[in-house]
Symmetry: C2
DNA sequence: CGGTACGTTGAGTCATATCAACCATAGTGG
DNA sequence: CCACTATGGTTGATATGACTCAACGTACCG
């Protein structure tokens, strides 16, 4: 319906550029995707869906960043993952046929395509290569979740913070001045690491004192990746 | 090759009895499974596979219990999940085409069938309903992992222990005297909860003092499920 | 009967959470 | 234009949950 909008992204370009899960779709299927999807622009702070929602489709991110999180008992959020260009969110609920177990919020202005669930399911049924790709995706994420569980259960907050910084470097990269490209509030950092905001602040200052990072408001400059790696592992047991 | 063994379980019975992921296979496919699988009996303590292994197939559990765990830096194990009759393990690595991110050890004598990866992949390619079922499985587990992450990150050890006890009740059930059917060492309990063995011991005694459980060596009798539920949630913040 | 694995308890320590106060910034509305 | 408010960041003081270390008990096993 929205496919005659101002320059909205075409799925075939997306699929080719990004090597995403859609890479195994036939030209015909991509065309179908193009036709049925709905393109959306979303601003920081907008909610894509909320925990408990029954979801009628999933999102493929074209640009921007989404945070996917769960809300714990006392309302504290736990960030589960981020999604950026080329990634899809909400597919879990769609495929497991359960209500959403997370919420998703835009943290960097975002362009995304909403794709109705039926398409996903129909592709799985007609295109085994695509199905396999989806399974791989889910299984890969499952592996990452397992690692995360082990880390949170066993590592100290200090170790985890260092690890998360490295993860963010890896996932979002650094600009030409070695600043982390993704910008998060201290609270958000705390909600990934699974700790209190104050603890993140204190540890970041320590990292700064140790010349591992430099801090300019929300921007974090990575000075010593090796040092952070050392902290994030066992080796840190000073 | 082993299909002429002493009464090894036939897949068609398994699939029907348990309503497991194989329920959508055709009779022909089940026959193929029967023919290609390898039946194994395993004793407590035996290892099915180790973290880092490249795996050539997965296991379908016919009886007994397996613990699936990751080993953290200092060698401490983190139990990720259990697998019991009707469940499959190691499918994650097979499907994501990555090395095993966990190890698996028998904790209750076990009968299991080893099924070569190619079969799994070929079924996915030829049987979309099966593929969908697998995706559902992975996505469901992913949802559980997300909850677990949030719990470990936000709840106290006390809350988590209560929660795990309830989880075990739910997953393995109670005998006629309200004893948990699964029997774990204190260390194993600690390795699920993500804490030290001593902490589990202390908290269990507290639970006992509070008349929530009764302890007879490794056997745990559940006296007050409601009470445990209360502790495991927010509400516990006395 | 010594050995090994598991369970228990106590004491001391430390990392991290909590609580509280304060500052900086930016947006809002009158 | 300025007071007002909200949001995020920072720091300090204090409390405490949970870990570590160590000793000891118990039970089963060869």
């Amino acid at each position: 319906m929205k496919q005659h909008d101002i320059n909205f992204p075409l799925c075939d370009r997306c699929a080719l550029d990004r090597g995403a899960i859609f890479k195994h779709l036939t030209a015909e299927e991509v065309e179908m995707l193009n036709f049925q999807k709905e393109f959306r622009r979303l601003k920081r702070g907008e909610i894509l869906y909320n925990e408990g929602n029954r979801i009628s489709g999933f999102y493929c991110i074209h640009s921007g960043i989404i945070k996917v999180y769960k809300t714990g008992f006392d309302g504290k959020e736990q960030i589960i993952r981020f999604a950026k260009a080329g990634e899809i969110i909400a597919y879990r609920s769609v495929l497991s046929n359960e209500v959403a177990c997370t919420s998703a919020e835009v943290i960097e202005d975002c362009e995304a395509c909403f794709i109705p669930s039926e398409i996903l399911v129909s592709f799985i049924k007609t295109n085994p290569a695509f199905a396999l790709e989806l399974i791989k995706l889910a299984c890969h994420e499952l592996g990452e979740a397992n690692s995360f569980i082990t880390d949170i259960a066993q590592k100290t907050v200090r170790e985890r913070l260092a690890e998360i910084l490295l993860f963010l470097v890896n996932d979002f990269g650094l600009d030409d001045q070695n600043y982390l490209k993704i910008s998060l509030t201290r609270e958000e950092l705390a909600n990934i690491v699974g700790t209190a905001t104050e603890s993140v602040i204190r540890l970041l200052s320590e990292f700064k004192a140790d010349r591992l990072v430099e801090l300019n408001g929300r921007k974090i400059k990575i000075l010593d990746k090796k040092g952070l790696e050392k902290i994030s592992n066992v080796l840190s047991r000073t």
